[in-house]
Each structure stands twice: as structure tokens, then as C-alpha cells.
């Protein structure tokens, strides 16, 4: 097992390097370098452009050198935890992202658990009650979940909450807690606000997982060993739970790999609509104002997160499924 984990970690390295390259490309993408746009921004707002500062910045980011040298400079700072300067916020990127990244991880994890619980219950029901009204209903709901863009679902839920319950949903904290330091009460407040984001972000993933679980469980239920167990008089409920469900559950672990990018994607856009203090709105704002160090760093972290999640799911899968060999 240890060698397996070690090998997977080694395999992750090139992926992480590729991610850093993509992020670097994103930082470099806007026409002209960021310094020129920074200078125009400064002169537009009527501030005096300090020649010495410009020269210092140019040297610091190696703007007069070829791209691979710039990449190397940038990378060597990234490894040391220096992600550059956010020109919009006039703060190091470092200080801006951690709390928001943490909240993104928290929401994604909560949504994943929510997705699992809901899709397990519904998938189990749909497979054991194939072609019943409930099955058709959930199948329909699943298709709707796949077809509705998450931001639209968020808008509709917000509208319903406002129109029929007079509630203003959105955000992750009540006003009292928004600026408060972390405490137990603040965590409780956070959990109360999690419901709507969880449903919205999880909708597409849940729909997909239900279909997978239902199909797998249906396949398993037709196998001879189930017949055998039934003829031997094993109670139906115990029979299903004990063997077929365990096999049908494996895709849950193996699909984390593709559901994580989906979750982070959904989280990004939902957060903008629901006004969550996570990475989504920060990224959007950074992109709009061409604050590229912030944007690039965020993309890099979000991508690394999903890669890390895939690694975790592979390890979980190897541990769950005895058919997978480590070597």
C-alpha cells in the first residue's frame, strides 16, 4: 500500500507541473504584460507613476527576460509561498486566498457528502423499485438536475425563497458573524447557510451519481449469487445491503475523480450568484480587472485541489476494492 501511495504521489508531480504551466500561461495571456496595464491604471486614476518602482517591479518579475526564465522565477517564488502581488487589492496574493480557499474546500466537501447521501438513498430506491412511479419521478428529476445550469438553479431557489418565504438567502454568514473571528457560534451559523449552496452545487453531481448507482445495482441484482442467496432464504433487505450494494458503491469512490472538478466548477459560478465569500467571486473580480497574479494563483490552487482529491479517491478505491492490485 505504501509503495502504491508513493507511486501515485510521484505520478502527481508532472500533473502539478503542468498545472503550474497552465496557470503561468493564464497570467501571461492578457495582451501586453501586466505592468503596462498597471501603469495605465495608475495614470488613469491620476497617480504619479514612480519610475524607480516600475524598474524594480520589472526586475523582480524578470519581464525583460524570455518566458521560460520568467516561469522559472515565478515558480521558484511560488514554491516558497510567494504568489505575487494583487494589484487590485494592493496586497500580496498570499493574504487574500487562504480563507476563501478554505471555505471552498469546506463547501465542496460538504456538497460531496450531501451528494453521496442523497444519491445513495435515491439510487437504492430506484434500483429496488425499478419502473415504479417513484423511479420515474427521480429519473426525471435527475435529468432536470443534469440539464439545469447551476447558476439558474441558484437564481430560482433565491427567487422562491424571497417571493414565498420572504427570506433573503445568499452569503455564508449572517451579518453579525461575517467579520467576526472564527468561533463555535460562527461555525453553526455557517452550517445553517450551507443548505442552499449544497443543493445547488450538488444537483448535477447527484443526478449523475444516481444514474450510475441505479445502473450498477440493477446489474448486480440480476446476478446468480443474488438468486442463490434468495433461494436460501436470506431476508431481502439484508441480502441487498450485504452484497450487491457493496459492489455498486465502488463507483462512488472512483467517480470522485470526475465529480470534484465538476463540484469546484459549480462552486465557482454558484458562489458568484449566491454571493458566497469563496474563491468564485474573487476569481471573477480578478479576471475582470485583469489582476492576473491573483487569477492565475486561484486557478492553480483550484486545479491542484481536484488533482489532490483524485489522488485521495484512488487511494480510497484501492483500499475498498480488493480486486485492485497495488503494484
Amino acid at each position: 500500500m505504501a509503495t502504491f501511495v508513493g507511486k501515485r504521489l510521484l505520478l502527481m508531480l508532472p500533473t502539478l507541473i503542468l498545472i503550474s504551466l497552465v496557470s503561468f500561461v493564464i497570467i501571461q495571456l492578457p495582451p501586453g504584460d501586466f505592468l503596462t496595464s498597471y501603469i495605465t491604471q495608475l495614470s488613469q486614476s491620476g497617480e504619479v507613476v514612480d519610475e524607480a518602482m516600475i524598474a524594480a517591479l520589472q526586475k523582480r518579475y524578470g519581464l525583460d527576460r524570455p518566458w521560460y526564465a520568467q516561469y522559472w522565477l515565478w515558480m521558484s517564488r511560488v514554491v516558497r509561498g510567494d504568489f505575487g502581488q494583487s494589484f487590485e487589492w494592493e496586497q500580496p496574493v498570499n493574504q487574500l486566498i487562504w480563507e476563501r480557499l478554505g471555505l471552498t474546500v469546506a463547501i465542496s466537501a460538504a456538497t460531496l457528502v450531501f451528494t453521496w447521501i442523497v444519491s445513495f438513498t435515491i439510487g437504492f430506491y430506484s434500483a429496488t423499485h425499478q419502473y415504479s412511479i417513484g423511479d420515474y419521478f427521480f429519473t426525471f428529476l435527475g435529468f432536470m438536475g443534469l440539464a439545469t445550469p447551476s447558476f439558474l438553479l441558484a437564481l430560482v431557489l433565491m427567487w422562491i425563497a424571497l417571493r414565498y418565504f420572504g427570506l433573503s438567502v445568499g452569503g455564508l454568514f449572517s451579518p453579525d458573524y461575517a467579520q467576526a473571528p472564527w468561533s463555535f457560534a460562527k461555525c453553526v451559523d455557517l452550517i445553517k447557510h450551507l443548505a442552499i449552496p449544497m443543493v445547488v452545487i450538488g444537483a448535477a453531481g447527484t443526478a449523475g451519481s444516481i444514474r450510475i448507482l441505479r445502473a450498477n445495482l440493477l446489474d448486480e441484482l440480476q446476478k446468480p449469487y443474488v438468486q442463490t442467496a434468495r433461494t436460501k432464504g436470506v431476508p431481502e433487505f439484508r441480502l441487498i445491503l450485504k452484497y450487491p450494494v457493496r459492489i455498486a458503491l465502488i463507483p462512488f469512490a472512483s467517480t470522485v475523480g470526475w465529480s470534484l472538478p465538476l463540484l469546484v466548477s459549480g462552486e465557482t459560478i454558484t458562489a458568484v450568484v449566491l454571493n458566497l465569500p469563496t474563491t468564485g467571486p474573487l476569481l471573477l473580480g480578478a479576471l475582470r480587472s485583469q489582476d492576473m497574479y491573483l487569477a492565475g494563483t486561484l486557478v492553480m490552487f483550484l486545479s491542484s485541489l481536484t488533482v489532490l482529491g483524485t489522488l485521495l479517491s484512488d487511494i480510497l478505491l484501492a483500499w475498498l476494492d480488493p480486486r485492485i492490485r497495488y503494484d
Binding site: 445550469p149 437564481l155 469546484v264
Partner: protein
Amino acid sequence: MEVTKQFKKANVSDSSKVKQAQEIYVASQWQLIWRRFRRHRLAIAGGIVVIIFYIVALFAEFIAPGVPTKYDVKYNYVPPTRIHFTSEDGFSLRPFVYGYRREIDKETLRRTYVPDRTSKHHIHFLVRGEKYKFWGLWEADLHLFGIKDSGAPFFLLGTDRMGRDLLTRIIYGTRISMSIGLVGVISSFVLGVLIGGLSGYKGGIVDTGIQRLIEFVRSMPTIPLWMALSAALPPHWPPLRVYFGITIILSLIGWTSLARVVRSKFLSLREEDFVTAARLDGCKEARIIVRHMLPSFTSHMIAAMTLAIPDMVLAETSLSFLGLGLRPPVVSWGVLLQDAQNVRTVAHSPWLLFPGLAVVLTVLSFNFLGDGLRDAADPYAR
């Protein structure tokens, strides 16, 4: 007597069965695919909806009751007009709409529109109305349906902030939103066939490398990446160039699923006897691929492409909604949904969410159609 009847009956059904079997035996692959596809009712329904949407996209100018740029601030945020059949004069087979009277609430100063029972406008087919340029080529003013008095308000799905007719704009938006999926899928198709084909045909280290690349692309969260890439499109670009820029960005990530289908098909076909036979006959590699291998999985490719289109439509809508994709004055469903970004606005005028309904319907239909096509793609499987 009874026995002979039964015998005859059995005979008849037997002979029809034999006939059916013969038909299947001589049917071409595409006939078999069609037979199987026909049994998938939802797929048929999805296909019909998709065709209707493309017809709407093709003839948007004619089908829309107005033109998308016409605005009238006097009529901003007008709720959807109700179509009536009965009035105090009794029932009329020709539906009609009432005009509007604007009233301002003295306390909240909010405008409300109440139907004006004195002005009545019948809805006619093929009316002359606003002038437009059909496909940008011919001047015309014929609309599929509408009211004869073109000055009167006729907003079946309400209006937006500028008093523009939402139905007209959704119909015009169909053109952009439906075509961006098609163009995007075609460019990802080219990428997917090239890269997936290379991977499956060459095998070995090329295959491993390309598989790693596909895994890498699939492990990236798409929306942040799309956002970052489309934010880099220069703001001064003309709309058409932005449109193609966005499609290319979408297909840069969307090619992977198609590449996977192509690769797996190549891997399984490579070992087939007919490929070996072609090779022994001295066919060139390009000819083997194009002439012998491609036709045998065209149906799979069509199914995979159909399933890839809804992702493109959703992506374009999301990007435009965030203001990073297409921008006004271009009309797409995502651009229209930008107006609904604020929940307060939505609460007052929920009809602004109608473009979203079009998106959901499109994606749903494409998914059903694609599912049916995928099941039918291999008509020999049981």
C-alpha cells in the same frame, strides 16, 4: 375447424416473422440503427425538439414577432401579455391581446401595467411588421405571427429593462446559442479524431502520453479555466471574432470525451481481420483509417458528438452570464440571463428567467437524443 384456424394464424404470423427476419438480414447498418433508434421514444421527442430549435434558429427573423434591437423605455419590465379568447363580446376563435395602461403606485413609485380593456388587438398569422434583413441579405417585413398595429405593445414573454420584447430576443438568441454548440463540437471533433486516432492507432508511448494529457485536462475544473481563458480575449474584438474565440476555448477542453471514443474504437478495430486484410493488400495507413475504419464507427461518433453539444451550450450560457463570454449587443441566452443576475430584479420580473427555460429544454433534448443515438449506434448488440 378451430385447429386449422389456429394453424393458419400461426402460419401467417410465422411467415410475417420470417419476412421480418429477412428484412433485418438484408437491411443496411444505417437501416438497423434507425430501427433501433425509433424504439426510443424519448430520443425521438428530443430529436423533434432539437430540429424545431434549429428551424427557429435558421428563420429567427421571420418567426420572431419583432426585432431584437427595438426598445421602448415606456414599456420596461412589462409582464408577459396574456392571450385571450373571450371578452365581453363573447368568444372569438381568433386570439387577441389587450393593450396596457401604465399606473404608478403612489407609495412605492413602482410602475405596474394593467390590461387596457378598451384596446384590443387580434393576433394574425403572416403580418407585416418591423423591417428586418433576412440573413442579413434581403429586406423584409413579414412575420410569422403578430398584431396588425405594430405600434401597440405585444410582449408574449414580457420585456426587459429597456422595454425590449423578450420572446423576440430569445428567438434571436437561439441562433447564437444553438450554433455555438454545433461549431464548438465540430472543432472539438477535429481535435478529438486527430488526437484520439493518433493515440489509438499508434499505441505505445504516444498512446500513454496522450492518455496522460486527457486525464490531465479532465482533472481540471472547467469553469475557472474557461473563465480565465475567455477573460483574455481582447475587449475590442468584434463580436464575430469573440464568438469564434469562445468556441475555440470551449473545444480546447471539450475534445477529450470524443478523443476517448475514437481511441477505444481504434484499439478494438485495429485487430479486426478486415484491417489486416487491407494492410496485406498494401493499403496506405491514411486509406485504412479513412476508408475502412472510420465508417465502422461513424454512428458512435455521431452519438458522442450529440452528447457533447449540451455541455457546450451550458458552458457558453454560464460564461456569458458571468459577463466573460459573449457581450451585448450579441444576443444569446447567456447574454439575456445577465439581466437576471440580481435576485431583486428577478423577484419583480421573474419572466427574465425564460431564457433559462430554453437552455434547460435544449440540454434535456440533446441528452435524450444522444442517449437514444448511443443505444442505437451499435445495432448488433443485444
